[in-house]
């Protein structure tokens, strides 16, 4: 009978997550829950976020209570049909706890890898999942890294292979950014695809990464299966230089935090560890000059240098755009007036990071476009 009992486990959000705190359940024992429904708030050292149910069913038992911290993979709750009695659930929970071993290999299963795209220039990337005709390739924005997709990559790796890169100048990749313009970043991303033998991919790009993805789709249309652009550059000239300059120049946690808070509508989820990680990244040799070069080429004189939306009619691949109505970096008005065949998804109470702030909804739409 216990075949009808389904566990809900502590998710793994990002590379560094080993445990999480269940801040608060948003549902009650006995509730019927839907897959994708926000059922709890979970806090990691980096971020606090809504946890969406991985399944539909009747939530019979909370195992991890409000305020408790448990390892990745530990039992949070149990779902079961009415015909499963409480004693069976007790037994299931007891067995789970008795047999649970802190599997460090599983907790840190995926590790980023590095590949050389040019002599002396390497790209760090994270790959997960397998299968599917064409993989998903995630491209982060200015100052970001592969871990920006912590709420997306694993969720979208169920039946597809996925890649998330550190762009040149970022994370563990080369700090050489060429001319620092979108075209040279596109060249380097294309080199990555060539070296990795990725012939065609579903591109998911955020902000600057959205511009790179779109540029790649124009230049190599046969290699792009679909485009999901999240608050991309290239759709208008506005960009908040207070954010860009602040990100480059602020070295102290408090002042940098005020800058990073511009990214999201509700900044309470940003943890001190997340700020500390950005500061550590910015200290690495070569990062400062790389970021300045990207800024000076992609947004000189306080404006975006290159508009990419005038050729959207040339696009042959399926494309969709995501934007938060309260985006304080690139205004959501840039999503207006796009060709009808491009689906535009606007979110209320959302800032520049819909893939984190509205992860479930964004994941569902990326999954839909990538799985045809």
């Amino acid at each position: 009978m216990s075949g009808n009992i389904e566990p809900i486990l502590m998710p793994k959000w990002g590379l560094a997550m080993e445990e999480g705190m269940l801040v608060e359940w948003q549902v009650e024992e006995g509730d019927t829950i839907e897959k994708g429904q926000e059922i709890a708030d979970i806090e990691t050292t980096k971020i606090t976020n809504a946890f969406e149910s991985p399944m539909s069913g009747q939530l019979r038992r909370f195992v991890t209570m409000d305020g408790e911290t448990v390892p990745v993979g530990f039992l949070l709750a149990v779902c079961a049909e009415d015909d499963v009695d409480d004693a069976e659930i007790d037994g299931y929970v007891r067995d789970f706890k008795d047999n649970f071993v802190l599997d460090e290999a599983a907790a840190g299963a995926a590790e980023p890898e590095t590949v050389e795209i040019l002599p002396g220039q390497s790209i760090r990337y994270m790959t997960m999942g397998s299968g599917g005709a064409e993989p998903i390739l995630f491209v982060h924005g200015f100052g970001g890294g592969f871990d920006n997709w912590m709420l997306n990559q694993e969720a979208l790796s169920e039946n597809l292979q996925t890649y998330a890169v550190d762009l040149p100048g970022h994370g563990g990749s080369t700090k050489q950014v060429g001319d620092g313009d979108l075209a040279s970043m596109t060249d380097m991303l294309h080199s990555f695809m060539t070296v990795m033998k990725i012939e065609r991919a579903h591109l998911v790009g955020h902000s600057m990464g959205g511009g790179i993805a779109l540029d790649l789709a124009y230049r190599y249309p046969s290699q792009v299966a679909s485009l999901s652009l999240i608050a991309p550059v290239g759709f208008g000239s506005d960009i908040n230089m207070e954010y860009i300059d602040g990100f480059i120049t602020q070295t102290r946690a408090r002042k940098l935090r005020a800058v990073i808070e511009l990214l999201v509508d509700d900044p309470t989820g940003i943890s001190p560890d997340m700020i500390e990680e950005i500061i550590k990244y910015k200290r690495l040799d070569g990062v400062g000059p790389a970021l300045e070069r990207l800024r000076d080429s992609i947004m000189p004189n306080g404006q975006q240098a290159r508009l990419l939306n005038d050729r959207l009619d040339d696009l042959v691949v399926p494309a969709q755009v995501f934007w938060g109505q309260n985006d304080k970096i690139i205004p959501a008005s840039h999503a207006e007036g796009l060709p009808e065949r491009i689906r535009v998804n606007l979110y209320d109470n959302t800032g520049h990071m819909p893939h984190m702030e509205r992860a479930n909804e964004v994941n569902a739409l990326i999954s839909a476009i990538a799985n045809g």
Binding site: T251, R252, P272, K280, L284, D285
Partner: protein, 337 residues
């Protein structure tokens, strides 16, 4: 990114700077070991192994075992720095400063000033400090306040492996004499440290905990104890801000004053003797600048004014502990805590 010890972090910083800049050399007693003798090469790598592996990679031209004469080789390093090299000299234990201090405080520290700004002295002196190693009173002292006192010297106290690599790298790239203090009881402590080179700017404090009730300012190894005390106190509802100034010269007075203003209470933790140390210095700074923000008298947690005992039981009592820090925090919070 990989897990590295405090020891490996120093070694990696020096190695990467030697690879980047051929003017960087290292020198000191037994920093490789075996020079000029028929025995095993690089047998020591420094008395606690921090510089092991540098000589095989960079050769005897750049990794110099020196005679047991601190005044000679520290003076030699100061001269080499003034004439174009970037020496990293190891003063094995800071307790030995007495025999070479003239070269440091009256020569290296003064060159830039005495030559009207025309001379730079990119000298780094690495030195071990601190108690807890059962090494008795002549090998266990915390003499960084003496160096902090001298204008023209910069003084860094890395509090973990990440800080060690970044501050060591910054010290080598700095054009002034820098004395970097390595706590000998921390060499095996490990954490994630980036593989790439990076520097941590001097004079920028690290706020390792943020709280509302008390600000703890701690130096070197004491930062870890302050963090532990803060974590333990938070279980009873007392939250502390912990400030690691990273360098005592230059000193990030702005962060100290700002965080003490916010909590209104200060406990300074300093392993050095209590007279004329960093704790008295920070206490003076706070009472002079923001006296009216204080809700309680400042409390200092230091070692006592006596030599470091050789008796293990007494040595353990001598060193500031998390229990002493917690007691001091409760004391500044007043009755009911």
């Amino acid at each position: 990114m990989s897990v590295k010890s405090y020891r490996q972090a120093f070694n990696e910083a020096i190695r990467q700077e030697m690879e980047r800049d051929e003017r960087v050399i290292v020198m000191g007693e037994d920093i490789s070991g075996g020079m000029g003798a028929p025995g095993e090469d690089d047998a020591w790598g420094g008395v606690l192994g921090v510089t092991k592996g540098l000589m095989p990679q960079f050769g005897r031209e750049r990794v110099l075992d020196t005679p047991i004469s601190e005044s000679a080789f520290i003076g030699c390093a100061a001269g080499a720095a003034a004439t174009g090299l970037r020496p990293v000299a190891e003063l094995m234990f800071v307790d030995f400063m007495g025999v070479c201090f003239d070269q440091i405080f009256n020569q290296a520290a003064k060159f830039r000033y005495m030559f009207g700004g025309k001379a730079v002295t990119p000298l780094v002196i690495r030195t071990m400090y601190g108690a807890g190693f059962r090494a008795a009173s002549q090998h266990s002292q915390c003499l960084y306040p003496l160096f902090t006192h001298i204008p023209g010297l910069k003084v860094a106290l890395p509090s973990n492996a990440y800080e060690a690599k970044g501050l060591m790298t910054q010290a080598i790239r700095d054009d002034d004499p820098v004395v970097i203090f390595e706590h000998k009881a921390m060499y095996d402590e490990e954490m994630e440290v980036p593989d790439e080179a990076y520097g941590i700017p001097f004079g920028e404090a690290n706020v390792t905990r943020e709280g509302d009730d008390v600000t703890l300012v701690a130096f070197g190894r004491m930062v870890n104890l302050a963090n532990e005390a803060a974590d333990s106190l938070s279980a009873s509802g007392i939250t502390c801000t912990v400030v690691d100034p990273r360098t005592t010269s230059p000193l990030d007075t702005e962060t100290i004053l700002e965080t003490v203003s916010e909590t209104g209470r200060l406990v300074v933790i300093d392993e050095a003797h209590p007279r004329c140390n960093m704790a008295t210095d920070i206490s003076a700074l706070v009472s002079q600048e923001i006296f009216s923000d204080l809700k309680a008298p400042v409390k200092m947690v230091t070692s006592p004014h006596c030599p470091v005992p050789f008796s293990p039981a007494l040595e353990d009592l001598y060193i500031p502990s998390t229990a002493k820090i917690e007691a001091a925090v409760r004391e500044v919070l007043g009755k009911g805590h």
